[in-house]
Symmetry: C2
Subunit: 470 residues, 2 copies
Amino acid sequence: MAASPSPTLSRTETLNLSGLAVVCAVILTRSFENGEGEPLIASLCFSGLAFAASYAMIRWLGPTFVNAGLKGRDMSKVNNKHYLPECMGAICAVVYLFTIIVFILIPFYKDIVVATSGGGNRDVVMNIEYVQRGRLLHKFPHSKLASFLSAIISLHSITILGFGDDLFDIRWRHKFFIPAFASIPLLVVYFVDFGVTSIVLPTFLQPYAGRELLDLGVLYYVYMAALCIFSPNSINILAGINGIEVTQSIVIAALLALNDILYLTTPYPHPATDSHLFSLYFLLPFLGVSFALLAHNWYPARVFVGDTYCYFAGMVFVVVSILGHFSKTLILLLLPQIFNFVYSTPQLFKLIPCPRHRLPHFNARTGLLEPSVTRWAPDEQPHPVVVRALRLLARLRLLSLKEEQGLVQESSNFTILNLWLVWRGPMREDRLATEITLMQLVLGLFGLVVRHKLALLIFREDNLDLRSVV
Amino acid sequence: MAASPSPTLSRTETLNLSGLAVVCAVILTRSFENGEGEPLIASLCFSGLAFAASYAMIRWLGPTFVNAGLKGRDMSKVNNKHYLPECMGAICAVVYLFTIIVFILIPFYKDIVVATSGGGNRDVVMNIEYVQRGRLLHKFPHSKLASFLSAIISLHSITILGFGDDLFDIRWRHKFFIPAFASIPLLVVYFVDFGVTSIVLPTFLQPYAGRELLDLGVLYYVYMAALCIFSPNSINILAGINGIEVTQSIVIAALLALNDILYLTTPYPHPATDSHLFSLYFLLPFLGVSFALLAHNWYPARVFVGDTYCYFAGMVFVVVSILGHFSKTLILLLLPQIFNFVYSTPQLFKLIPCPRHRLPHFNARTGLLEPSVTRWAPDEQPHPVVVRALRLLARLRLLSLKEEQGLVQESSNFTILNLWLVWRGPMREDRLATEITLMQLVLGLFGLVVRHKLALLIFREDNLDLRSVV
């Protein structure tokens, strides 16, 4: 089933990838020749190039990774003797980082051309407004450069630390804090360059607080750090079956991008246009490299993504949402991850024994995945309170529990993947990945609707509501 | 001789490191309490903390690196059966990066306090001049933030790529271009944020050119990219004996820092003060982590530094010198590396066979290093032109050549380390490292004197000459 990927591209692949790369390069060049340099189109082209580069490099570098010891076996396959390259998300991260670094030139292109009189004399700066004739969509203030760079530094940091995790196999309780380190650049630059730590209070709370804005001060940094820790880790623990790390990331990125597009297509330029352009510039290339990875990681997987990818994906979401000031929207889109984390806590905090791997159990006879279980020996029964809690969860259909003569035999492991199998019965690996992904998509779409339709109930204005901002 | 380092710190080491860390932390806190936040003192404290952190982590993580396959044997020792941790420079790089990221807060501290009215309202910005009473030394313009961040991104990139090199053992002809990739962030941000591509022409050329400044345009970027490629690689090829990679880097960093201090101690604030403060902020923590590495890499080495360190060191020099606009000074300090590179070209470009390793030959009987040689079989004699060139070099004492009956027997390998051994005779590894380091130091000091005393002959004004700038 799961075969090691050939380190060379097939003829069709080479043709398709080269074709894509050429088309992207041509559009990119032409958009510059027209003096347009429309950043969004450029971003799409860069994303196409990033897809092609990642796709090819994942194939070419597979054996190199295996030789360096970055390899693993697929535990949910019948024939799993040989090793597959592990940590291929590192390739995506590096391609992504170089793409986004080169891309910086584009949104600032107009500013550079306008602001420099020939030989790069930066003293003569004309107001961009005078020259700009297009929509606000074109505009990208120069002050955003620091955001751009701090976002890149945080993503760099998470790549280095994530790669270290994959290589050195850091313990779970240590690696939980890896994203905290990577959040430092983001928080430091946020502090230096923005320092906005106020949030809008819901209307029903405003009479009590006596104000509309609440300055959280240091707490705001704690909140941002918590989000930086949670998002990457939450992606990392919803894992274990082929493709699931990548598909959930693609869904979240696509929904964030959809949300951005809503702001860019309002009849009048929206004040948050810049933030959402910024967000799109980071999300589109991420989608590019993720699809390249998915092509190799989808069932039956020919490569593994590694913790690097999960951390990296989670961090991309955090940097765009923090620097774009829509972190609450991100939380809304992470609902399945939040559920999975909360649901996992009994095992994460060792209230229930937690085996090294909790991925669904592969039944080699049927070829289907079944919920994996924690077995309870007769002499190592859970605490009576735990037994009662387990029974309650089982009654609520939040657990599969097997008891015999008053003794707990086995309980399913506390992950959303196992729970889904409890609900829906055994199924093949790719079907499980598809269903979970669809669930993430439907919940996310629903979340966005709630976000924009119902926000007016608890906040004075929705970001998409123009009456209050025009 | 060379023993694997103990993964725990001795009691004395723990005491000393903790003491150092506490002292640094106390000074740091007190300087903030005084409302001073003097960035240079803070930078020294951060460097001390970086030293302590690297020192401890090099010890703690040694076995982890060995287990992950990052290990090597010391070829110049009698008892070299066991493996030493390789690539420990990666630890230094990561510690350095996090140090410098957190440090960003300091130079901007005053600006933040001044510019924000309480709750982080960035709209009310007061001119820093009104509040600042101290010397210009205190001042750090906010516009420097982008330089800071782009420098960090370049260093991040070189760390990722250098680590990839150490892990995947990339071929020489490919890895030569690794720094080129890492230079992209620097060049992109330079283009976006500065765009100054003019250089001052030497006075004797000015009548011919009819101007004082020459705009190099694109060529300036080629020049910067070339420097980015050369500096890291030149450190990387002056390697092969215990400690030499670190000591040469320390000497270059110290001389650059000395050069910076010259600008900060002029009787009147020098216009380039900011650039040189910026440079010091990057060099001091680099010295911190380098000394921690040297303590373990000096003869007899207990860890190896890896290509990561060499690339990283070279890139630190490039970013400070490019963003500080003193790249010519860097070239002056890299003279031994330039000589080593030019001298190596016959082998690098395969005019003379180039063995995998060209490090000096260890004579196990005497315990001394001797020049390593390329042997010429009677039926594989060099081309007559090459023979003539070899003889010329030998006569100039730039080569040791052994001939017998008109046939070339062996010629010493083309590295400065072997040449030094040809000149000075066999010597112990640490003595060779010391002598080469001293040579680098003396040449560098001489270079700085030439730079500041003789610059007036070919340029209208020296940077340290104040008559023209006050």
